[in-house]
């Protein structure tokens, strides 16, 4: 199957530190890929490079064979990427529902003219409700996000990312900070979304959940490629165990 997203020869430097060195990977349509590696391996930097938040020293990033390396973040997002944040970042002045409604109205804010002329929010409200139901937080729709616990906000991040109707969902540690029960439930939700056809790339430290829901692993260590392949087989490789588990 053809790659929907590919990143070739990604090198990122922060001052004198090389955060990523010549890293290449690709994701196939409908695949669930997990990026793993110890802290500081460069996983978040790689996702931020793909979305254009971090500028690489060298890279070639493509969506469906279209080169996007020189595009700004918002243009890449409009080509089908969606990113959830490691540290939850809801719009604090909005309710849970409004957060997702805004994302669902992405076509109405594509340019200033459209955003001035469009007034109605009813269809976006309907869409947003569907996404909130999908991640099982519809009952919190009218609550201000400032009153919501982390478990709800992590789900809100996923709902908001889905609302822009992406082709590829990039999840940065969606299970971090959740207890095992919450993590397991959210992992099930993410897996279900993936099974419905969404190409998913997930950074996650919760290895038991990663192994349970991923189709493939891609391991980074100290900014370099270490291994990739079937989750169980990758975890058996001695260099992965040494780098990731320290044993």
């Amino acid at each position: 199957m053809a790659a929907i997203l590919s990143a070739e020869a990604v090198t990122v430097r922060f001052g004198g530190i090389t955060a990523l060195k010549d890293v290449s990977f690709e994701v196939k349509q409908g695949e669930f890929l997990s990026l793993i590696g110890p802290n500081g391996a460069g996983k978040t930097t790689l996702l931020k490079t793909i979305t254009g938040i971090v500028k690489p020293a060298n890279a070639s990033i493509k969506i469906n064979d279209r080169e996007i390396t020189k595009l700004p973040t918002h243009s890449r997002i409009r080509l089908g990427l969606a990113l959830t944040h490691q540290i939850v970042s809801p719009f604090k002045s909005m309710t849970v529902l409004q957060n997702v409604m805004f994302a669902a109205g992405y076509k109405k804010v594509r340019n200033i003219g459209l955003s001035i002329l469009n007034f109605s929010r009813s269809s976006e409200k309907k869409d947003a409700m569907a996404f909130l139901e999908m991640v099982d937080i519809a009952q919190y729709k009218n609550f201000p996000v400032s009153t919501m616990p982390l478990g709800i906000l992590k789900r809100l991040e996923v709902a908001r990312a889905l609302a822009i109707k992406p082709k590829i969902l990039l999840l940065d540690e969606p299970l971090a900070g959740l207890n095992s029960q919450e993590a397991s439930r959210l992992a099930d939700t993410i897996k279900l979304i993936s099974q419905n056809g969404m190409t998913t790339v997930m950074i996650e430290h919760n290895l038991s959940e990663v192994l349970r829901i991923s189709d493939r692993l891609y391991v980074l260590d100290n900014g370099k490629y270490l291994a990739s392949g079937n989750p169980k087989e990758v975890m058996k490789q001695p260099e992965v165990r040494t780098a990731y588990l320290g044993s």
Binding site: A82, F102, I112
Partner: protein, 281 residues
């Protein structure tokens, strides 16, 4: 209505336009501006100079609005590179720069300003109505912006630029649009002011005036159109109604600004929300 009341109400109308215009930039889009009076001044000086050249009133007002808006977009470009405290310092610089330039240039009348601005050709009451129509249009425009999707996008930019960007929003366009809208309206207010007083001096558009306008926005409730209008009417009228306050106007504005930020950052609109449970959104 006597001449004094008409004059006072005209001033209130001009300040309403100014406060609502700053609220678009700072309240809606979250871009702090400590130099808004400079755009008020750009509008006033443009209108004063062009009207003395014999341009008709509607053309001078359009030119005042446009010149302030164009320079506003140029200043807005800095908001793409700096934000929060740094943007506050840059916009503060704009306030000083404007006064510094007009004070030193003979073309702008120097320290003495520009006098003998032609009359608007209306009765004072008709001019009051003229100003109030613009004030009302500004309020309606501001209300529309808040309710349309552009207002929703401004909310997102004000809350978290980074997140808005990762949802596909071209935040540069939205920030520049906020500056264009807000500074154009300030330019219009400046033009109306020039015809109102028929005499302008640089001090009127200085840093203190920028802080005065910001006080009106902050006291009313940053982002709330009706709160800002209410606070503007209150803050402009109060020193006039209670004469003894006039001598301590800056002290009062400063104390109110401090008090609101310390005890009720949502301003008067926050009290309204508290009392009624309704949020203006």
């Amino acid at each position: 209505m006597g001449p004094y009341e008409i004059s006072l109400a005209t001033g209130v109308g001009i300040y309403v336009i100014l406060a609502v215009s700053l609220n678009l930039i700072t309240g809606y889009c979250g871009q702090i501006s400590l130099g808004h009076a400079a755009f008020f001044g750009i509008g006033a000086y443009t209108v004063a100079l062009l009207s003395k050249l014999g341009w008709p009133m509607y053309l001078t007002l359009a030119a005042g609005l446009s010149s302030a808006g164009i320079i506003g977009v140029i200043i807005g470009l800095t908001s793409l590179r700096v934000k929060e405290d740094f943007l506050a310092i840059v916009t503060m610089g704009v306030a000083f720069l404007f006064v510094g330039i007009v004070r030193q240039q003979e073309f702008f009348g120097g320290e003495m300003g520009i006098s003998g601005i032609p009359s608007h050709g209306m009765t004072k009451f008709a001019y009051l109505c003229f100003v109030l129509v613009f004030a009302m249009l500004s309020i309606l425009f501001s209300w529309y912006v808040k309710k349309a999707w552009i207002g929703f996008a401004f909310d997102a930019v004000a809350d978290d630029e980074g997140t808005a960007r990762t949802l596909g929003l071209d935040i540069k366009s939205y920030k520049l649009t906020a500056f264009a809208m807000g500074t154009s309206m300030a330019g219009l207010a400046g033009g109306l002011y020039a015809y109102y007083t028929r005499f302008i001096v640089p001090e009127t558009f200085g840093f203190i005036e920028s802080i005065t306008i910001l006080s009106m926005v902050a006291v009313g409730g940053i982002g709330s159109t009706f709160g800002v209008v209410f606070a503007t009417v209150l803050l402009v009228m109060m020193p006039e109604v209670f004469r003894f306050i006039n001598d301590y106007k800056l002290l009062l504005y400063g104390a109110l600004l401090f008090g609101v930020m310390r005890f009720k950052p949502e301003g008067l609109s926050g009290f309204y929300t508290l009392l009624t449970g309704n949020k203006e959104k």
